[in-house]
């Protein structure tokens, strides 16, 4: 105890003398140990992708069990990572907020309002000694039927809801962010089908780089014109061609790297 938190890490209701709340930071650590989630806001939609490590050969990792991407309303998709049970609570709350709004106001909840409301909910769990903060983060993709715009939000265990052009969270967060930055999404947004390819490339790249031998299963969803501006899983054929492209791309990159090394040796 003396080594890490010096007694200030026992409850989320106590600040440490230098102004930190360790319990919330530990919750963030829980997210950093779980599968990677990547989201891209596109010129014509928004795409979510996540890598699910198959921790046991006999696990059934199809859409029926071990789901990481959920539809919380027709226009809202949530990809969550971290403790699976915690993220399910988040997803359920998202669904309830969306349904309550529709009941109250007779229209779809704007995605940024949903992210704000969810932020307040998650934040509440960082205020009380009797509660445990969420060990999960959620990437929210939404389409607003009133403004016809799509948006992408990340909700972290501290309750801060930020809006992004491209975002990554989970185990491969750092490497994925580097790859996303290369795409220059804030200046030149890419199309949804291109984003599917890039997300798959990033997820497979991260899997190659981590020496983790556990196989991964990939889940990708989108909101775009092709999905009727509804949150839906990317169709199997699109997924297949994109995945082939991603793997080919990665092989090429690897060969290029090898060539470079050889060149260096020669010179």
């Amino acid at each position: 105890m003396a080594s890490s938190g010096s007694g200030y890490d026992l409850s989320a209701s106590t600040f440490s003398p230098d102004g930190r709340i360790f319990q919330v930071e530990y919750a963030t650590k829980a997210v950093e140990n779980a599968g990677t989630v990547v989201g891209i806001k596109c010129s014509n939609g928004v795409v979510l992708g996540c890598a699910k490590p198959i921790h046991h050969k006999m696990v059934v990792a199809t859409s029926g069990s071990y789901k990481r991407i959920h539809t919380c309303d027709t226009h809202i998709g949530v990809a969550s990572t971290g403790f699976l049970p915690d993220s399910r609570v988040l997803v359920q709350r998202t669904t309830e907020e969306a349904a309550d709004w529709l009941e109250q106001y007779g229209g779809k909840i704007p995605p940024h309002v949903l992210a704000d409301r969810l932020g307040s909910y998650v934040h509440y769990f960082t205020l009380h000694g009797a509660l445990r903060p969420f060990g999960a983060a959620a990437v929210i993709a939404g389409h607003d039927p009133d403004t016809k715009e799509c948006s992408l939000h990340l909700l972290e265990p501290n309750g801060a809801p930020y809006r992004f052009y491209g975002v990554a969270t989970g185990k491969g967060k750092q490497a994925a962010k580097t790859e996303l930055e290369k795409l220059n999404l804030h200046k030149t947004p890419i199309a949804a089908d291109e984003a599917v390819k890039q997300i798959l490339r990033i997820l497979h790249l991260l899997h190659q780089e981590s020496k983790d031998s556990k196989p991964i299963e990939v889940e990708v969803s989108w909101i775009c014109e092709a999905s009727g501006w509804k949150h839906k899983g990317v169709p199997k054929d699109v997924l297949k061609t994109s995945e082939d492209w991603a793997k080919e791309q990665l092989e090429e990159e690897e060969e290029d790297d090898d060539d470079d090394e050889e060149m260096e040796e020669e010179s």
Partner: protein, 215 residues
């Protein structure tokens, strides 16, 4: 829901209507408020602003409809703060419908919610005493409305301009005020469009149709 009016209850036995035109909507009402046969107010205002671009025409109990519009006004400002947007007429009508439906045993309120929003343009909703909400090409309400149903069916058309819509609203309202004992006084209209709102008032001796001009 059989309910007798309370002794001395103030009712807006009324004529109200809302007619959309190209790019907006005009709402219109007479100004009579009565308690039984006594006219409690001959220049009342039955057109209430719910938000910058949304109005409500009230009919039924004055107390009930005032309370309802106060609530909807409050909810809509809350909605605007939450979303950072201008409320839609649809949302305003939905809020009104919920309040009326959930409390229908204790209320006597039939209202028209009309206005302009950036999503749908000009639109008109009517909410009945029972709490059902209908979007209509145009709407009438109050005790005077039955006298002008045919007139409006004949003369209303889609794609009128602002002046045509306002003139038709005034004409229809004056006809209702003439035949309905519980409607009368002056005509108030409000034009709502992307440019904002424009209020207008026609005094009782200057109506398009009425005893002075005709008989």
């Amino acid at each position: 829901m059989s309910q007798k009016n309370r002794e001395g209850e103030v009712l807006t036995g009324t004529t109200i209507l809302a007619l959309p035109f190209e790019g907006g909507v005009v709402v219109c009402a007479d100004s009579r408020t009565s308690t039984g046969t006594y006219v409690a107010n001959r220049v009342s205002d039955k057109l209430v602003q719910l938000s910058d671009y949304i109005y409500c025409c009230r009919s039924g109990s004055a107390a009930d409809t005032q309370a309802l519009t106060d609530y909807v006004h409050y909810y809509l400002s809350q909605w605007s703060l939450d979303t950072g947007r201008i409320p839609t007429v649809k949302t305003a009508a939905h809020l009104m419908r919920r309040l009326i439906y959930q409390n229908k045993d204790q209320l006597q309120a039939g209202v028209i919610v009309a206005g302009w929003d950036p999503v749908h343009g000009g639109s008109v909703y009517t909410i009945t005493l029972g709490g059902s909400c209908l979007e209509l090409p145009f709407a009438t309400g109050g005790s005077g409305s039955i006298f002008i149903a045919g007139l409006l069916d004949a003369e209303f058309s889609n794609g009128m301009d602002m002046a045509e819509a306002r003139n038709l609203a005034k004409k229809a309202c004056s006809h209702a005020m003439c035949r309905d004992g519980s409607s009368g006084g002056v005509i108030r209209t409000v034009v709502i469009s992307a440019d904002g709102v424009d209020r207008d008032y026609t005094p009782g001796n200057d109506l398009p149709f009425g005893p002075v001009a005709v008989w």
